[in-house]
Amino acid sequence: MIEKEKINWIYKKIFTIRFFEERIKKIAKEKKVPGYLHTCIGSEAICVGVMAALNQDDWISSTYRNHGHAIAKGCELNEITSEIYGRKTGICKGRGGSMHISDFSKGMLGSFGIVAAGPAVVLGAALQEKINKSNKTCVSFFGDGAIHNGAFHEAAGLAKLWDIPMIFVCENNGYAEATATDWHLNTKELSDITKAYDMLSYIGDGNNVFEVYDITKKAINEAKQKNTPIFLEFKNYRFSGQYEGDTQLYQPQEEIDKAKQNDPIKLAKENSSKYGLNKNDLEKIINEAKEEVDKAFDFADTQPWPQPEDALEEVYVNYPLEINR
């Protein structure tokens, strides 16, 4: 039984992320913001379901497709939008942009543009937790495309060898950039890859936020109890292109239509009464989410640009000589 407060939180977050990403698609089309944009339409349930099982100060790593993770982890919407708009008041002071939305004070170790950079970094945070006998949960998010990258395998091997109770969360969204997952996989199931590391793994429906939550919660307990890393694969569908502006010619219409039947937002709505939300409750949550997202985008538009020389700040904690000589 999930407490009412958490159910409301889950619903609020899942709609917030969808509205947020839809607004991103819109401003991308209008060419309103600079730079690359990667939206996570189709993976909202994974972002929210996993984060529902975490505390605010637990550690996660994300990727360039990070808006959903950042929102679910509790980053301020105004700061996220301001960052995407390149403004001084952005979450990274305008130095990161959409691909690097991350707030360390909210337990985000980083949102990395390099595929499979995150797992090893999270391994390190988890090693620190182990050495300091602390108990924060450590989760690395990455896509199915990262599964072939050496850095993932090196982190997986060390995590198992060192008995590190971290959680690898693979969002299997059907595509690694413009390459279909069923083509690039050498194994039947993606998570079969972890057999080489004798690592426990579970597969879940990434469209069902409550299933994601349930599996993650159990995995965290099991990992800590057995002192072992656990690999979670959540299957979903990437409705978005690799980036905004991607023609998506490689995604057949019938495949998209089929996936729409399992859209995580659609499923969440359908399940709402089962979780004690009546039509009014749901409507209220949806309206609030939409309003907050709209406000955050309007806010970003009013924010000041950084000064050009702000580019020189915070390269180092301490550098005795002038950087810009």
């Binding site: 950079a117 390190g124 090693l127 620190q128 850095a151 915070e314 005795p320």
Partner: protein
């Protein structure tokens, strides 16, 4: 005063840092050695790294803080970054700098950038200890210096000590530093020794050192090249040429002022760098001098470097590859027209 080898000075700095700060940990391949054979006597701490530099740390501080890794540099370098961000002070050993390629992403794109690109909220206080240098008949993949590879990257600091005194003082500083530091140890210097006070204080990064005062020629020498610079200066003294030797010691940050002061004094400059010549520390220092001290120069800056080739194996070829005392003497003589 105690006479110490570079190898022992580094070991001392590690032990001292482990004792002073419980957050200091060490990770690397065979930094202890003998893992998996603990049940046999004499296997523990069998290696202490390929040059024995870390020997004794595992026995003294235990496997939780002194962690032998798999041969997976990307894995444990990434782990060092995450551990550093969350409160530890990890030291990782890159067995030879030539292996930089397999974990360069971790240093270039993560360690160097997380502070900057995530808005200055986190820091990465980690140290990469690595072994550099030719002259060990170790072939093309175990002999490079690659100083400029890391110096090029904003966010990283680069240290390359020559003697035991600097090795200890600069390593103590590097471990206390809040930024990622690449600490380069030259394999041909490990067994060289000098006086190292037992209570040596950390030497700040970004402060170079005048190793020899002189008035006619400035020789800027990088790491092991200080040895040849000193030999050359002794020879040249016999024909009344006075050489000043500048050892920058750290390359990011670089003590530009110390270099410029010496250039202003002598007006003649030779930079000696064991690296390949293109985009090297030698070319960087040379360009800085022509930019900032052009009117003080009596002649163009001379660079003495390795050729633009990989490091060869066979002794006659490898000896030819490495800059030498003779090359420095010849260059100075040419410069002074004697």
């Amino acid at each position: 005063m105690t006479i110490k080898t570079v190898k022992d000075a580094i070991n001392d700095a590690l032990v001292q840092s482990f004792e002073e700060d419980k957050n200091v940990i060490l990770m690397g391949e065979d930094i202890a050695g003998g893992k998996g054979r603990e049940q046999y006597q004499g296997t523990q701490d069998a290696w202490g790294g390929p040059f024995g530099v870390t020997q004794g740390l595992y026995t003294k501080f235990g496997g939780e803080r002194v962690r032998d890794t798999t041969i997976a540099e990307a894995g444990f370098f990434g782990a060092a970054i995450g551990a550093a961000m969350t409160g530890l002070r990890p030291i990782v050993e890159l067995m030879y700098v030539d292996f930089a390629g397999v974990c360069f992403d971790q240093m270039m794109n993560q360690a160097a950038k997380v502070r900057y690109m995530f808005g200055g909220k986190q820091k990465v206080p980690m140290v990469v200890r690595t072994v550099v240098g030719a002259g060990f008949r170790a072939g093309s993949e175990h002999s490079q210096t690659l100083y400029s590879l890391y110096t090029h990257i904003p966010g990283l600091k680069v240290v390359a000590p020559y003697d035991a005194y600097d090795a200890k003082g600069l390593l103590l500083s590097s471990i206390k530093d809040d930024d990622p530091v690449i600490f380069m140890e030259h394999k041909r210097l490990y067994m060289t020794s000098c006086e190292v006070p037992d209570d040596l204080k950390p030497i700040p990064l970004g402060k170079g050192r005048i190793r020899r005062e002189g008035s006619d020629v400035t020789i800027i020498a990088i790491q092991r090249m200080n040895l040849f610079a000193e030999e050359a200066a002794n020879e040249l003294e016999k024909i009344n040429i006075s050489c000043e030797i500048v050892d920058p010691r750290t390359y990011s940050p670089l003590d530009e002022e110390l270099i410029f002061q010496s250039v202003k004094k002598t007006g003649n400059v030779i930079v000696v760098d064991e690296s390949n010549p293109k985009c090297s520390l030698a070319s960087e220092i040379s360009s800085l001098i022509s930019e900032k001290c052009f009117s003080d120069l009596k002649a163009a800056v001379i660079k003495i470097t390795a050729p633009h080739t990989p490091v060869p194996f066979s002794p006659p070829m490898e000896d030819f590859y490495i800059p030498s005392t003779k090359k420095i003497i010849d260059a100075v003589k040419k410069l002074k027209d004697v």
